[in-house]
Symmetry: C2
Subunit: 299 residues, 2 copies
């Protein structure tokens, strides 16, 4: 069974009936598992997580965007989080045996439908991006809705799908494919925030550290201890075990030990299996050996 | 979804058409995933592995035993492996959220059906055993088919289900419930077989080592290196990481390092997750956080 995770972000975090209508449109599609709905009132935004097979996920993502276009008017939207439109961003994430290529194809199909059927300018981002300038979501979203409706006719703003004219009601939508993200925090036996920040800088990609790792040094639990809070944006490039070992090495230089770690939210099972394989030095291991993974093939 | 693994052993390893008829009877049940069929000619025995929901697994196990009773005549059976009957042993193993109690209930139901409908003496073993003397399969199977048909009327041989008279054609069947078994081998950077055997003795339960661990020290790959070959008979008692760490400690006393490890055959995903949680010192982790594990709940 091929599975894709989809985590669309809609620009509505305050009206529960609108959120319910959007999630209802998504979960009404046969074969969709709605896993999580996280509204934020300050952001005036909701993050929805669902999973299913490619056809179902493509249909559900479109129906969510359709319902958002119907019920959200960006001309009235105010919120703290950057956003380009009513359906702000739709990432497709491969799970299990699904390839990134399949997610890129789904992103293109859903993007095309949103552009053509809903008359919304659509921009492809991350792995689905057609130009390097559109890889980063922050770049695509720069200036937000308010600038997009002014600038849409400029050549560099030409959408990948849909009309190159402002949709005042819906704004624009960013659609793409990316690897699953693992929110992984490592706790330090220390209250030295400076050291934590220095360790985070050393470990993260932007500081010349581990690729595909974002990291911050934080003080948590009311000053009780420090933490390296990470986003592993591609755990197949840098996994949890590698990140933890790098932190252990950097922390050792300060005489600081690791007390434990935590995963925030959801993660794909493979991220944990990779850690087990690494720590057990397992050779010749195949995911086929996992009983539960073989259950899709029978009658 | 509640899942149970069933690994029946049938006393036929030479006639492919008989094996195919038995596995066909099993996989013909709706909802059954036939995962593995391993015939052995010397043993004249086949080990079948299948998985499904409790009702399906109970039905499939019975139909396999029924077909074996139809096609195998123990009066003509010769083979190296100890056996009591045509359907020799049927263990039920809980997977995921399934409890051991549910597997014991299934073992009792299937045992009763085999006894009543097929007129075969049935003995409950392992976690399903009703007396301590029947916990160990080797004890129940002592003397094999040949002794059973003579001794069946003795009080200590009274079956848990079915007639207390010899079934010459089918022999007896042992039915039970047990935790999943993990076949886990740890390779040593050494060719010292004596040291490997000493390490194995220290580590295994029978030597006063780790509970639920069986271990042998072996020379493998034509004398290239030694190995501690283990069966973890209940990984929730002693997991892969604990076994590996114990071997690392014992081996260190001989100045021997671990070069790697391997899993033979299938294992439940939880055995690997436990290792990841252990090595990452993950706190507050719930299996609910694994994306793939949440996919059973939706529509």
């Amino acid at each position: 069974m091929k599975l894709i995770e989809c985590i669309p972000n809609f620009s509505e975090g305050r009206r529960p009936e609108v959120i319910a209508a959007i999630t209802g449109a998504i979960s009404g599609v046969e074969g969709i598992n709605l896993l999580d709905v996280k509204p934020d009132k300050d952001h005036n935004r909701v993050v929805v997580t669902f999973v299913g097979e490619p056809e179902s996920v493509a249909e559900a993502a479109f129906r969510g965007a359709q319902k958002a276009a119907e019920l959200i008017d960006m001309q009235e939207h105010r919120g703290e989080h950057p956003r380009l439109g009513a359906t702000d961003v739709i990432p497709f994430v491969p799970l299990g045996a699904t390839s990134m290529e399949e997610c890129i194809t789904i992103a293109e199909r859903v993007g095309a439908r949103i552009g053509e059927e809903l008359d919304i300018p659509v921009y492809l981002y991350e792995r689905a991006a057609r130009t390097p300038e559109r890889r980063n979501l922050a770049d695509v979203r720069r200036g937000e809705y308010e600038l997009l409706i002014k600038d849409i006719t400029r050549p560099e703003r030409k959408p990948d799908f849909g009309p190159a004219v402002a949709n005042l009601r819906s704004g624009g939508t960013v659609v793409g494919a990316r690897p699953p993200l693992v929110a992984f925090n490592v706790n330090l036996e220390s209250t030295d925030l400076k050291a934590a920040r220095a360790i985070a800088r050393k470990v993260r990609e932007s500081g010349g550290g581990l690729p595909a790792v974002k990291a911050l040094g934080l003080m948590i639990e009311e000053g009780n201890h420090t933490q390296i809070s990470m986003n592993l944006v591609d755990f197949t490039i840098t996994g949890m075990h590698t990140a933890m070992e790098a932190i252990a090495n950097e922390a050792a230089a300060y005489g600081i030990a690791i007390s434990g770690s935590e995963v925030v939210g959801l993660l794909p099972v493979q991220a944990l299996l990779d850690s087990a394989i690494h720590s057990l030095k397992l050779a010749g291991f195949s995911a086929d050996q996992v009983l539960e993974f073989r259950l899709g093939g029978g009658k």
